[in-house]
Symmetry: none
Subunit: 191 residues, 4 copies
DNA sequence: GATGAATGAGTATTCATTCAT
DNA sequence: AATGAATGAATACTCATTCAT
């Protein structure tokens, strides 16, 4: 009995997710050029050819991983919100950073790798800006509302700080005291 | 009649510097595995083989570039100093960060790439710790002396911040407002 | 729909045999370092890359060729036999040497090349001793039973003689009078 | 004061001998393609360029080593002698084989390597025949005079035996019982 | 006579991608 | 949908040889 269209779609979605998940871990661990398609296939328990059934090539694979990752993060943070953050929401956002880092360490490591690699970065420039711009805008608005002297510098400072925390955390999650640092930030930026 | 030893030494040093400089730019631009020895040779206007006259292999090349870079930075900052930073020295250090970033953008980009790349990182782990440990210690001592509640978190926060600034600056030097951010840091951390 | 496992296995075995055969001829003709993987591929009518689908590297290739060769020879001669050779069996063994040389000239040439090449020899040392030791032991036992004064020297002499015959035969199979020499040996060693 | 022509000639001869000696050891140890000109230069304590001052290329170097080696051996054995060997002379020749192997192990190993390598062999084919032919002729004459049934087979057998002994000796000089084997040959072939 | 920097063709090996089944 | 054999271009690295000094 042939499978229904629905079932086929399910299989496709599952396989695609499996490939993406496997590839993400490996890219984060060994870098983009350091990870071969063969290894991804082997690790995922499928054939090399099958990957090309779902992704047109290696670049498409990493691009999809990153962009889909952004989508999830955006959903979580709802960074597109028009309104202005209250202090409470900001605390929620900063505390959320910690748990989102812990739960998606591989993704964030990959994110940093991609940011450093101009060639790969070009592939996702547009999506990257779509992701980052509203976030930065929200931060600027937040500081404007707090009445600080240079809200743009404040927003950039906080953005850089979050990047730096991400960097240090993904490199050595065991030893980097992320939670006490987040507390410190809340103390320094919200009072 | 052969050249004098002096002449040979001169030639060697100049060529080595040329290769290191060229390779650093390319590594920073395209990553370690993304940069081929052929490209380095082509860009430097020499033959592939000659690189191997000066560096035993690709790893030796990047290792030498990073370690020599550290040496220069250490000399500038004198991070091995035993004493404790005064506020004045801290300001000097932070302002120095800005100019050292501007003058060695490629090196710092390479530094971040290397930090993200576990396999390359292994090559220079020892030298990296020798460079970083005293710097972090100095920061901790500085915050201890200021009497803050959690000096280690403060030091790590400032360290992460400097990493984040480096990251944002090397990715887009034109648009990142590094100087006003440094001023803000001085304002936030020294008062 | 993929091929059946059986089909894949068939393809693999045929290709592997083709590569081994081609490589053996070339190694025997031009030596180990004198034979490039490119040339083997070209001669076999396949791509360079395919060789690495079947053998992990050049060393693995020559090692497999030699070891598989030994296996065949051992089967033919049954050198592991525990008992002692009769004169009749010794005649059979010596006459067999002639035909085994004629039928596997390339292999024996390769065998000699490998013996002369210390670095390649190291790769197969163990297998080589497993092959040679029982053969030599059988020869010693044979001469012991014949009651000659120095059976070890006799065995070594005969061994060296067989090596020498192999050497002369593979260098110039057309002109070396192998059969009359074997007859002479039978005459000189068995009476 | 400039050196006299005589002195220059002396220097040339000494340097040439040094290069030949060094190269011979290395070729015997690591094979022809396995030995680089750089290594020879380093081992001999001279520059790469200097080797090309004395030998037109690598092939010329090995060719000269082999041919000069033959010349010395021929002188020692005087294989060009027209007359026929007496039994006494044959004993002297066989015993001499042992000492000549012990004193020139590297040369004989190189000789075997070259014999196995068709490409290199071609370079010295003529000189090789000039060396071997009279030797074989002398052996044939010796056996003719002894009145054996098949003197050519006898000569070839003895020749192969000497090759085999050389092979076994150069591979493992410590353990191969060359002298008792030579005694055995004298016993088997002269009685 | 002597040096060693420099070249460039060559080597082993890897890997993204294709395609017949 | 799925396989893995096959390709070929690219990569790091080696080395005989040249040549200005």
């Amino acid at each position: 009995m042939p499978r229904t269209e629905e079932q086929y779609k399910d299989i496709r979605e599952q396989k695609k997710a499996l490939i993406k998940e496997t590839a993400m871990e490996l890219f984060a661990q060994k870098g983009f050029s350091g990870t071969s398609m063969s290894l991804i296939a082997k690790q995922a328990g499928i054939s090399k050819g099958l990957i090309y059934n779902y992704f047109t090539n290696k670049e498409d694979l990493i691009k999809t991983i990153i962009i889909d990752g952004f989508k999830i993060i955006i959903d979580v943070f709802d960074t597109n919100k028009d309104g202005v953050l209250t202090d409470e929401e900001m605390v929620f956002f900063l505390k959320g950073t910690s748990s989102i880092l812990k739960e998606n360490t591989s993704f964030w490591k990959l994110y940093l790798i991609v940011m450093m690699q101009a060639d790969v970065m070009k592939l996702i420039e547009n999506e990257f800006m779509e992701f980052l711009a509203p976030l930065l805008k929200t931060l600027v608005q937040y500081f404007e509302q707090k009445g600080v002297k240079d809200p743009v510098a404040h927003a950039n400072l906080l953005g850089a700080l979050l990047d730096g925390i991400t960097l240090n955390y993904v490199i050595d999650p065991e030893h980097f005291p992320i939670d006490s640092i987040i507390d410190l930030i809340i103390d320094k930026f919200l009072k």
